[in-house]
Amino acid sequence: MPAGTLYRGREGMWSWVAHRVTGVLIFFFLFVHVLDTALVRVSPEAYDKVVSTYKTPVVAVLEYGLVAAILFHALNGLRVIAVDFWSKGPRYQKQMLWTVVGVWLVLMLGAIYPVLGHAARVVFGS
């Protein structure tokens, strides 16, 4: 790539990229999630069997990633709405992004025990 051609959109561009990536990931999970839930119409055993995979340590880590994607998409989506509808939104878009990142970090720290605690007890023994 020739020098000087990379678009340097800084916070605004990277939050837009992250919003797209997390949105696509969540949408693909949604298809899988509707399908696995549909197994309640097959039999209780079929449903409980597929849900048991959600309780394994590896999938618990994926769930933590899903929570990370959803929380970022939700918080940044509220920021996008503020940029579009609040008269001072565009002026404060950077400050709002760092607020989003801060709230996201706090929530992700808070989600460690509830989401990963079960997996930790399986791996390390209770």
Binding site: L30, F31, T37, V40, S43, V67, I70, I81, A111
Partner: protein, 163 residues
């Protein structure tokens, strides 16, 4: 004197003052229609407002989804032992209440339509040929309709005594 002079190479400008005097009853100034003025010949609308409504839908559904999805995550992954309590019995207990049926139904429809519209935008952005856009969007709409119908049927036909 200085206002009357025009630089060489530039003709007299209409309305600059030099010619205003020459317009009159016998020599009226030409009528210039305002740009973008709607006339009888202008079609009522060259296109609909679909993209604007799509943009608005993303924001409105987004606000509702923040509440629905974060509530869903709180119930399924955080409260009462997290994911370890989830099973057929847990689902049966929740869907016994119309409140949670409506909650899940609204979440299904809004999330699927929100996601489908987002992916439609992404396809429009990155799929360059008309053919690939058509195929990708056809696949997207088919998968979306199937998933919404399947999920809706599952919520409404759920039978806790299936065994």
């Amino acid at each position: 004197m200085s206002t009357e002079t025009t630089a060489t190479g530039i003709g007299p400008v209409e309305g600059s003052g030099a010619h205003e005097g020459s317009y009159g009853v016998d020599n009226p100034a030409p009528f210039i229609e305002p740009p973008r003025k709607r006339t009888k010949k202008t079609p009522r609308s060259t296109r609909g407002n679909f993209e604007m409504y799509g943009w608005l839908f993303m924001r409105l559904s987004g606000i509702v989804l923040v509440v629905l999805v974060l509530g869903h995550l709180l119930i399924q992954l955080v409260l009462d032992g997290g994911v370890s309590k989830v099973g057929f019995a847990f689902v049966a207990g929740r869907w016994a209440s119309p409140w949670w049926q409506v909650w899940d139904l609204a979440m299904l429809w809004l999330a699927m339509l929100h996601g489908a519209n987002g992916l439609r935008t992404i396809i429009n952005d990155y799929a360059e040929s008309v053919k690939s856009r058509l195929w990708l969007k056809g696949l997207l709409y088919t998968a979306t309709v199937w998933t919404i119908v399947l999920g809706t049927l599952v919520i409404f036909t759920f039978d806790p005594n299936i065994r």
